[in-house]
Subunit: 384 residues, 2 copies
């Protein structure tokens, strides 16, 4: 698969984290437009305040820090970014209003500006169109692998869309995920892409949750060159955008903190999609359901309890529940399923959980993880 021409990546260890890559830079040879989506959390990271002022502008660089979220840092957090913009504009062929930022990591700490500024020569020297993997690694926190998804599509010519993302905790994106960046050479105008971009978000990042904790830093950005629309390629572009976003979302949930499996929660037969969504999200946030899945325990009573607690009017006596395709609840009561066999089938890396309300035709599905000792370990000792 060819690289995006004119888009260069680099990464380095600046010392924000104790070890590993923690600074990622993207440089666009030609100015690019972007559309973005941010967390619905009312406590927002400094970069989100900063980027909101940059909306509609053309930019040439993106700097991402990991290990420090630059959230709950007040006005100083935004000023730190303004200072960085100024310094970068003196060291790269960009204006100071041509760089944007994103951060992830511990909330409440200021960015170590000196360490970042000291790293600029190294970041600049290493810029290369082939280094997207390093960039994807530099934005990781508790992720166990880096996340890249690509797609190509054809219009008047061949185009590329490539995206990177990171998880792995505080994942309950409702307007984006922790961090995800998508790059394409398909020319667009902002007014054309804003709506389809949001639609794709709804079907990808908004369909996963690890711990039902919406982050302060969730950010998704799509970068693209400005230009007249290639009508022929547009439908394929939209398909590719949806596919790449969905792939990244699944990579995030697969790498959820401490997860041993991905649970696909599919609520069907609802009167309204809104109800199906409430139920799916309530099941996915149940620590009792998530720990039962960790124990390969088809403990459907906990699923029924979560359903009953979702603030949706349901008819318990109509509910069917299927796990791995096996009907374990019919009409609200347990069936005579082979529990030992089902336990073995639950030990898979992918588990299908279907709830059918048998009341209507609306449905909603999302992906979540089990809850494990490792989740507790990671989060009881994250900062130490």
């Amino acid at each position: 698969m060819p690289n995006l021409s004119g888009v260069k990546f680099s990464a380095c260890s600046s010392g924000i984290k104790n070890e590993g890559l923690d600074l990622g830079l993207v440089y666009f040879e030609e100015p690019h437009l972007f559309v973005s989506a941010y967390t619905r959390n009312r406590v927002k990271a400094a970069h989100i305040h900063y980027m909101k002022k940059m909306e509609g502008k053309k930019i040439k660089a993106l700097l991402v820090t990991s290990g420090c979220a630059n959230a709950a840092t007040g006005k100083e957090g935004v000023k730190d970014l303004e200072r960085l913009a100024e310094v970068f504009s003196k060291n790269l062929p960009i204006e100071k209003d041509q760089i944007i930022f994103a951060s992830t990591g511990v909330i409440g700490k200021r960015l170590p500006l000196d360490k970042i500024i000291d790293s600029i020569p190294h970041l600049k020297k290493n810029l290369d169109s082939s280094r997207i993997e390093d960039f994807a690694k530099a934005i990781m926190t508790t992720d166990t692998y880096h996340k890249i998804a690509k797609g190509t599509f054809v219009g008047r010519r061949e185009y590329i869309l490539v995206g990177v993302a990171k998880g792995a905790g505080m994942i309950n994106p409702l307007f984006g995920t922790m961090l995800s960046f998508l790059f394409t050479d398909f020319p667009l105008r902002r007014e054309v892409i804003i709506r389809p971009f949001r639609a794709s978000l709804k079907e990808s990042f908004e369909r996963i949750t690890v711990d039902c904790e919406t982050s302060t830093n969730d950010t998704v950005v799509l970068f693209f060159p400005e230009g007249p629309l290639d009508e022929e390629g547009y439908p394929q572009f939209l398909e590719t955008l949806k596919g790449v976003m969905r792939e990244l979302a699944l990579l995030i949930v697969r790498d959820g903190e401490g997860a041993t499996k991905v649970i696909h929660v599919n609520v069907r037969g609802a009167k309204r999609k809104k109800d199906a969504e409430k139920l799916a999200r309530r099941i996915a946030r149940s620590t009792l359901v998530k720990t039962a899945f960790f124990g390969n325990d088809p403990n459907w009573g906990r699923i029924m309890a979560a359903i009953g607690d979702a603030e949706v009017d349901i008819l318990p006596e109509r509910i069917d529940i299927l796990i791995q395709g096996e009907r374990i609840v019919k009409g609200g009561k347990g069936t005579d399923f082979d529990e030992e066999l089902l336990k073995r089938r639950l030990s898979a890396k992918d588990v299908e959980l279907e709830v059918n309300l048998n009341e209507g035709k609306a449905s909603f599905d999302l992906y979540t993880t089990d809850m494990t000792y490792e989740y507790v370990r990671i989060n009881a000792s994250y900062r130490s």
Copy 2:
């Protein structure tokens, strides 16, 4: 402290659970009235359907099963209770509409009627006014200790109020807790007590949560003899009721599944109590906050993130956060607190977490637990 006269308790191991007491019986020599509150979960246990039909009646017996919740058992679950009422009426000096039931345990299993019926002679033989401790033990599931609270008060004569309760998982009572039974010899009429009973619930059981999972079986019942009100003793009765309920609620949260500490979440300075409650509940359900407390980590960024995710309009730049009385966030930003010292103070069994929004005068507080390896262990292997 004297026993309640005319109220007898017994317990036995009937085999519903693999080991330990699992059947508890209360027998009232004189018919008693009761007021009760049940779960708001839309999936309700059979005993709740049964007891709703008994409201306003005078009863002489209460049978409680642990190890089997008799929930999601459909009409058959209620019929099983009708059958038990009939059998008990032939073995105790009661009519068949003078017994009520409550259950706790695994959801989705029918009650083993034969085992229960076989236990009647034993239960009957052991009835004694001193056996409340056995009864309190018989209603336990994952509880690590039994829970009893007592109070005496004086009106025209001395009265007693004694309550028992059980936890320890699926605890997020909004109309009651898993199971709690309160007994008094203070004569009352139902219409007098219903409102104060609900008010006491709101200030006790509704102020605790272990895992934010509202059970299918939550039940609180207060039993009392019918009679003209002792006006002199009524204010003290109300105080005692509130005190005993609060003590039981705190006993439940202290014994929360896997908990190493109790966190008192106190949200102050809100414009409306409703907002303070939303924030306190959102913080208390955050697995990231709860695991951080397990790790004695004053990771206030996670508290800020939970606050921002509570669907309450807040001003992040006004928020103060205090842990163990130490101000660690002022105006939305971290202070220069001594982290090592605070870590040590966080290792206490009781932790005070105060959030001040500095916007108004409303407040709300509740008690929750940390989230630990042990919570995962208990719930990944509950049924095995």
